[in-house]
Symmetry: C2
Subunit: 707 residues, 2 copies
Amino acid sequence: MVDFILTENIFNNENIPWNGNRFLIGNGYFGIRGTLEEYTKEQMCAVNMAGIYDRAGSAWRETVNAPNPLHTYVKVNGKKYALPENKPVFHEQQLDFENGLHSRKTVWQTENGTITVKCERFASMSRRHLIAMKYTFSADFECDAEMITGIDGDVWDINGPHFVKFNSGSEDGVNYVEGITGEKHISVTARDSVKLDFDAECSGDVCEKAVYRRIVFKAEPHKEYCIEKIAEITTSEDDFEPIGDIRDITYQELKAEHTAAWEKIWDISKITIDGDDDAMYALNYSIYHLNCIAPREMKGKSIAARGLSGQVYKGAVFWDTEMFMIDYYIHTEPEIAKTLLQYRIDTIDGARAKAKEYGLNGAYYAWESQEGGYEGCSDYNITDVFTKRPMRTYFRDKQYHVSAAIVYGLMKYIKGTGDYGILNEGAMEMVIECAEFYRSLLVKKADEPYYEIRDVVGPDEYHERVNNNSYTNRMAKFVFDTALELIEKYPSDEYDSLKSMFKDSSENIFIRKPNDGGIIEQFDGYFKLEDASVDEVRSRLIDPKEYWGGAYGVAADTQVIKQADIAAMLSMFSNDYTADIMKKNFDYYEPRTEHGSSLTACMYSLLACMTGNPDAAYPLFMKSAAEDLRPGGKQWLGLIYIGGTHPAAAGGAWIVAVKGFAGISEQNGRLVCRPCLPKKWKGMSFKLMYRNKIYDIAIQDNNVSIT
Amino acid sequence: MVDFILTENIFNNENIPWNGNRFLIGNGYFGIRGTLEEYTKEQMCAVNMAGIYDRAGSAWRETVNAPNPLHTYVKVNGKKYALPENKPVFHEQQLDFENGLHSRKTVWQTENGTITVKCERFASMSRRHLIAMKYTFSADFECDAEMITGIDGDVWDINGPHFVKFNSGSEDGVNYVEGITGEKHISVTARDSVKLDFDAECSGDVCEKAVYRRIVFKAEPHKEYCIEKIAEITTSEDDFEPIGDIRDITYQELKAEHTAAWEKIWDISKITIDGDDDAMYALNYSIYHLNCIAPREMKGKSIAARGLSGQVYKGAVFWDTEMFMIDYYIHTEPEIAKTLLQYRIDTIDGARAKAKEYGLNGAYYAWESQEGGYEGCSDYNITDVFTKRPMRTYFRDKQYHVSAAIVYGLMKYIKGTGDYGILNEGAMEMVIECAEFYRSLLVKKADEPYYEIRDVVGPDEYHERVNNNSYTNRMAKFVFDTALELIEKYPSDEYDSLKSMFKDSSENIFIRKPNDGGIIEQFDGYFKLEDASVDEVRSRLIDPKEYWGGAYGVAADTQVIKQADIAAMLSMFSNDYTADIMKKNFDYYEPRTEHGSSLTACMYSLLACMTGNPDAAYPLFMKSAAEDLRPGGKQWLGLIYIGGTHPAAAGGAWIVAVKGFAGISEQNGRLVCRPCLPKKWKGMSFKLMYRNKIYDIAIQDNNVSIT
């Protein structure tokens, strides 16, 4: 049996930001970074709120971090002991991701003996507003001890501060800190209630941005002194109410509820792999993260590119959701998938406004979508390392493929659930307007018969402003075809008149064919670019943090690409291509890919599976599954910090496992399983929801059972 | 009377590059930089050959500098005296630009007294292969003197060395150094012959790349010792033969011929201004330069952007010639104008190849045209000052307006000379193919009626890759209209079938109208750019040499433009616009123009004249006329040296004087003169050739006589 426990048992100052991500706990309403209880904003603590945004001044808009109700530390004989200041003699941090429990144990040597701090905490999966913490102190000598625990409103922000006003106080045993955001006056409040199992002298301290409890006691040697805190986070934007009074709930009760909720989640989502514990561990760790950030109980909310691990990428929703994450939810908890799509439907006004801004029609979804579909991406999304000036990037203007990704995600949902009803809830309109958007991008040369899409940024962002990115053109055709298919299926006066336009678009858009060698050129002129290796291009960097793309980046004029582009297209439209073409393109593009994105390895991996090469797929699968477990991921884009969790890689790993290795596909409304396991895998078993039924899939030595 | 003499009478080391330009002499076959006789490549000496190009390795192709036959210095009592090493007590450098004579006088203090070197030289305007020099030494004390004079083949190059082989020698009194270029094995030879008027001991020294004569004599006090050198430059590419044997020709004879030739040139080209000597001086200095570089006697040669002042801008021909220089030649020596156009006709294969390279039709002329129409412009035309990396620029790919400029120049020539015959000599084909080129640029949005030209660099190079640059679209329409007009005039089976295509193009290309405020937007979205002042934008420079344009330059996202763009269009198509619109656009765009090009001031100046505002035009006219007289012009583009003479500014000054202030235009085949003189000008007089007749124009106090 594989233990779903992640452990770090040394203390390394440099790992603080990374541990904040990989030890994350969350329940969809918020994420709590895997920082220690004594940490403050210096160590990037965050209770990161889903879908609550604010702009401070003219800085980037981003999600808001709630006042932190976990802030706790100890004093012994008047001296504070805390990391990272005091070097410990023992330190262990753990995430039990089977049960969604974070814990730590730290031992310090003092002048008189050793002291030990232990803490366990969780983000309640049963009562989504709640956080519970059990904090324990002991010493091997008698001492005057103090526990200071409170709510810290002076939170970490990348582009803050977001709270322009605070209300702090204490009432009937409940302390609270309320922060009010500057832009939209949203209230975000943390409350706490603390229980002690020992005698102590308790006092309180209410500051502007914080409220603290001071618990002073005489500690006997080798006795454990434990406090239990139940904290509650609420906002003025909540879709659902807190359950119960935090003063009435015990840690033990809440933990029992919480682990039961996780057990239920794992029942449908766990994937067992026979013969490869590492893969099973990493894959289920990925699934854990997908569950921590799923917007359960929430209306029309989606998932940010860095999940709930902080404000990186502005807490915004990218195409990642519909391309890489939604598949998992469709086949485990489809109501979550529907919530994600409802977010897009609800925010179509933002997409309409963006199309209009660029003189285009229909719905052009935001590259970095915030509440209401507000575009969070600025024209200057990277800072030049040499001049420290903002660089004009074209992510916002020209990544036209985002609208198509949403339609693609919708169709995966409809095919996976059979829920055509969603079309009556705004999705039909969304498809039509996305098709109108792509129609308005089409241009035709004076004497040529076909339509082009020019001046584009494809998935491979290192090459900006290219013409006829094969991926984008193919996706546009997909949207035209989808609109046509749905108009045919549901004829209406409103849309029938659009059929000829979409038909013309689909038939005449330029779809690039493979060249004589079977390779599909990524965009007009790509093959003419310098064919330098990734290593060669990397060696040209002057500053390790410099951006590879943009107008003058080291990759810009070479064939080195950031991430799967042609490979994504091939895996998404695998019926259009032979296995031979897919293999040739894998062999051509994979070595030319920097894999400078967490979205890329899974795409190549899936493509390798489709060409019957699971062993080529395997290392890319592991890269994707272990994205948040591996140290030293890409932390910088120019001068901008981009660390955090990678739910798209997690979702991508799930896709490879289920659709690649297990070979699950849908044919004529039925699940088909054509496994293609890596050599060392003897078997796989998992559950899958498909069109309202749960199937048990078991693969053993290439025997398949679906029940 | 205004003396046409340029004098510098101090010695300033820092002025060496600039003096090389402003003291230039030339005869169209070569230019000789205004460097001193003792200078070598360190001081940027050059006998810059017109139209002879070479590429060394993978560096930029550029014109070739001939072995320098002027290299001469003195030794007194064994010690060398030369600038810049030895500080002089007196120094004067002069250019008599009435007679095309360069001279210098330098006095040094030695241990025993003073010594004086004088030298006069010229590039023969009568025998275009010849250079003559008279070099004089004297001392105010008795001394052992030595004159060393020879041919220096170790020449200055920007992207050299170009000579991969040398043949040096001496035969029958003639020394020679022949250099052979690496790329095309072109031979460039300098020969010299020297005469003495005193007794001396003469010896010779033949090295690999140089041949020297050593003239040793005992100098008496206060006596002048003079040597006369006649040198000859030839190449294996010559269109015409040298006249005479250099051993037979005397300095005096050659000088008489030379000054007679200049007198003849000035007879048709001098412009007299009553009331403004500075303007008259600067304007005729500009005309001097236009005459030094005119390709007289040469077949199908044009003029480089920096004339014959060196290899800057690769010695290549730009749109400058047809836009700014050709007018002067059309109206003084139209056979030169025809030679310039013949160059474009002869090089149409290069333009065809370039169009094909970009998947376009017809003739796309080179941005930096070398022999055969070879494109000298690289994809990386600027070096980034911060990273020292080459920057991807789009001058080569997307300055589509160059072909139209050539058609525009042709039509100026035809209208100014009446020489429709040139259409039978290849010009008709050129017009048609330029129109086919623009046709192939047109794109139409799926549901819009008009054609656009997208992804363009207009005259204002600071904004790359814009859509619907108003200037470019208008020029394309002009080319379509010209092609239609000529096909109508000369019906032929070959071209009649193209009429409907050109008609469709002309009628449906998007021509931007003025907005409500009367301003014509430079390109799609220009008005949305930050409206920062030129000074504000300049203040954002981190490095004074950094490039303002490109993707991230300080001007790129602002309304600050490099040079006349809308203003150029308005002055070229003045019949399309009211004076009010022209004035409003002048007032809008002029303050937003950095004037970072020598092509801009004259355009604005001409536009100001057209709106009846000669006093607004005047400072811009003077800027243009004195471009090569003013210190501190723009010497750098990124890290690339761009100094040299500015014949486009010279030609532009002539255009403003004649077409602006004198108000000369052509109406129904007749010259019309509607003067609009600056306040201080009482009158102007000049000759003008128009349709094979020479007219004397005299303007005095707004009375005009044309005879």
